[in-house]
């Protein structure tokens, strides 16, 4: 591809154009014929499936359509990122499900990437014990079905003592079979502004680093970015917080009645699902990372050392850019797998989109619509991940000839 752009002799279009002849001997006519035929067959089959379904639904007097979305749901949801009440609509309930899926997928992807990279590097370590431990971990985790692992983690978490005998490792932290209770602060508008300042700080640091790099390209002098970064990401938000009067009211969980009140909760269902997904996917990511690093020839290390670069710099500037080409595409698949595997949440009672859509289609009896919603949600999430990773892959790809 890129070779034709580089060499002017290939820049002009390929073979000269011939007029289209309406004969079987013309390769292009044959090509068009077969493609029209295939599209026609596929189209007919889809139409047949569709009309058959619609007909059967009518004959059996089964209601169709998406009108149910605005009806009152009346289903209980244990954990939700947005305000939810059983008197809300099915649409709201399904939104809660989508957010729960996204919550576990996003946190899971971040943690699995970190854990997977650490284990992948550990497997390449010169330390015999470390590399063997990493090897055993990868083999065991990859060879057991994920559902089994989820049930294992969930059973372990259920084995914790009840709320009245909760483990209390640190003040304010309670560990029981009702989940993990963590202290938090009473969230006010000031905290939102502080958070906003931090996001702005990250964006500014990124822009600053870009300018500094341009200058380095111009005069060859490396410049330090971190002092300005620290000031922007930590200093400015801190100043904002103090400017608002530094509000800080701790919200510590206390046992009241059947359960704890106050603080924030990490439910056993979410926790079991997260641990299961992260440890399972990390096993695969570790192998991807190992393969990536090993794909860079040893000569690259030696050449970089000969230039006088330090080990960290070699890894960051020479090895990783080349390894990432190998790592990113299979990593994308693993991210997609993690997201789709989160649908196993149904088995351990974490209410993700599958769980809530299943209940919805059962209460309304509209299975096709329910399944269509589930598919649409996963398709959207997966395509977004793919698009982002493809963009990132294109960005970091080395320009080759």
């Amino acid at each position: 591809m890129s070779s034709s752009a580089a060499d002017p002799r290939f820049a002009s279009a390929g073979p000269p154009k011939r007029p289209l002849r309406l004969s079987w001997g013309d390769e292009r006519v044959r090509g068009i014929f077969w493609q029209v035929l295939v599209v026609g067959i596929v189209g007919t089959v889809i139409w047949w499936l569709w009309s058959n379904t619609v007909h059967n639904l009518e004959v059996r007097r089964i209601a169709t359509g998406f009108g149910f979305l605005s009806r009152e749901a009346g289903l209980p949801i244990g954990e939700s990122l947005i305000e939810y009440d059983p008197s809300n609509t099915y649409l709201r309930a399904l939104t809660v499900g989508v957010l729960n899926t996204l919550k576990v997928a996003v946190i899971g992807i971040v943690l699995a990437t970190i854990l997977g990279t650490v284990i992948g590097i550990a497997r390449l370590s010169n330390n015999w014990l470390l590399s063997k431990l990493a090897g055993v971990y990868i083999e065991v985790i990859r060879d057991l079905p994920l559902l089994l692992q989820l049930l294992f983690w969930y059973t372990i978490l259920q084995g914790l003592p009840g709320p009245r005998q909760a483990l209390n490792p640190v003040d304010g932290v309670f560990l029981s079979n009702r989940g993990m209770k963590l202290p938090f602060i009473e969230w006010t508008a000031a905290h939102w502004w502080t958070l906003l300042a931090m996001v702005a700080g990250i964006a500014l640091t990124w822009a600053y680093a870009r300018v500094m790099r341009q200058r380095q390209y111009a005069d060859g002098q490396p410049r330090k970015v971190w002092p300005a970064g620290l000031a922007l990401i930590v200093g400015v938000p801190l100043a904002v917080w103090v400017a608002f009067g530094a509000p800080f009211t701790p919200d510590i969980p206390v046992l009241r009645g059947f359960n704890f009140r106050g603080g924030i909760t990490v439910s056993p269902e979410f926790f079991a699902l997260l641990i299961g997904l992260v440890t399972y996917t990390a096993g695969f990511i570790a192998e991807v990372v190992r393969a990536g690093i090993q794909s860079v020839q040893h000569g690259q290390w030696e050449a970089a050392q000969a230039l006088g670069l330090r080990r960290g710099e070699i890894l960051r500037k020479i090895v990783m850019p080349q390894a990432l080409r190998v790592i990113i595409p299979p990593l994308t698949s693993n991210y997609l797998n993690l997201t789709k595997n989160s649908s196993l949440a149904v088995a351990i009672g974490y209410q993700d989109i599958v769980s809530i859509a299943n209940t919805t289609l059962n209460q309304t009896g509209q299975a096709i619509e329910g399944i269509a919603i589930i598919m649409l949600v996963y398709l959207t999430i997966s395509l977004s991940i793919s698009l982002f990773m493809n963009w990132y892959n294109a960005k970091i790809a080395l320009v080759e000839r």
């Binding site: 493609q35 259920q158 009672g349 096709i368 269509a372």
Partner: protein
């Protein structure tokens, strides 16, 4: 060219999508035509009845140590097989989860459902079913560990409650909580075994489902006395067998088998004495057992249908005593109307 190939690829992808989407609704058979008795004809042609039951609920439907399905609901399947074939064993049992049951019946995968299904208006209409009667009057309740000391459901404020999704149970729970201004945390788990295990392990303070289901679960625990079923019943759960819309004659048959079982108990006909009662002078007994009249033929089965059913399966009281009394369920509202209950059969004429 490239664009065309892409179009084909998309179309193939779309096909796969459409195929997955439509499989649940178009299985096996063509849509039942109105008029005759398509379901009954199909069962006769096949030679076996396909009966959708639970995945295993003590007392209602559960395979025994030999793998033979037994229980209250199973006996209704057997009674239908006796009416059609005079052979209680010509039934294939299909275990269905709470979530899969309706699709199984709609698609024709099973001929009928006899599995703890609550009769509601929307199920009778928009799902395309016919309920054929109420063979068990149930209600939703709560079970807690005796050690918690909870006496009534109102004390469950702030509790964590285990519940199975996809049933009326979930909605009843939220309705009850809203009406009584009780806050609770739900734990929603699909499989019966897992949800019970979560309750037993202490993940939840209470487990809620139909009282009959609670009794069955409690009886299966190593020490049933550790669990208390609270006296509050928060909903009406009329359970009964159901069939697809479109075969009224099959629905009629199921309806009258249930009434026949009730009528037999009312008239005192049991599996033990049905042979002697064949010569009973009571005209209603004569009609029910097929000695006079043509009641069986009107339903499209043999005139000796009810006599055969009572001989092999027993009457309603026998079915109840055999399956449900061992797990601690009393007759209560399921007693005959003559004994202060709700079970009542229209006359056999």
């Amino acid at each position: 060219m490239k664009a065309l190939r892409l179009a084909v690829a998309c179309a193939v992808g779309g096909l796969a999508l459409a195929a997955t989407m439509t499989t649940p609704t178009r299985a096996q058979q063509p849509a039942p035509a109105a008029g005759n008795a398509p379901t009954m004809d199909a069962i006769r042609a096949r030679g076996t009845l396909i009966c959708g039951v639970t995945t295993g609920l003590a007392g209602f439907a559960q395979p025994d140590s030999q793998g033979v399905w037994r229980g209250f609901d199973v006996d209704y399947c057997r009674a239908v097989a006796v009416a059609l074939f005079n052979d209680a064993n010509r039934v294939r049992y299909v275990p269905t989860t709470a979530q899969a049951r309706f699709t199984a019946l709609q698609s024709g995968e099973v001929d009928m459902l006899a599995r703890n299904t609550t009769w509601t208006l929307s199920r009778d209409t928009s799902l395309g079913f016919d309920f054929t009667g109420i063979n068990f009057y149930d209600g939703q309740g709560f079970m807690v560990k005796a050690s918690t000391g909870v006496r009534t459901a109102r004390e469950l404020e702030g509790a964590t409650i285990c519940v199975q999704p996809g049933t009326t149970t979930e909605q009843n729970l939220t309705d009850w909580a809203r009406a009584n201004r009780i806050r609770f945390t739900p734990v929603v788990i699909e499989r019966l075994e897992e949800v019970v295990q979560a309750y037993v392990a202490g993940r939840c303070d209470a487990y809620t489902t139909d009282v009959s289901g609670l009794a069955a679960t409690r009886s299966a625990q190593p020490n049933p006395r550790e669990h208390t079923i609270l006296p509050d019943v928060i909903s009406k759960e009329p359970l009964g067998p159901l069939v697809r819309h479109g075969d009224q004659r099959f629905a009629d048959l199921l309806r009258w088998i249930h009434f026949g079982l009730l009528g037999a108990e009312e008239l005192g006909i049991t599996s033990a004495n049905v042979q002697q009662r064949m010569t009973d002078a009571n005209p209603e007994v004569q009609r029910m057992l097929g000695r006079s009249g043509d009641l069986g033929r009107m339903l499209g089965v043999d005139n000796a249908w009810m006599a055969n059913i009572i001989r092999t399966v027993g009457n309603y009281g026998e079915i109840f005593a055999r399956n449900l009394e061992p797990i601690g369920i009393q007759r209560g509202p399921n007693a005959l109307w003559t004994q202060g209950g709700l079970q009542y059969s229209p006359p056999f004429r």
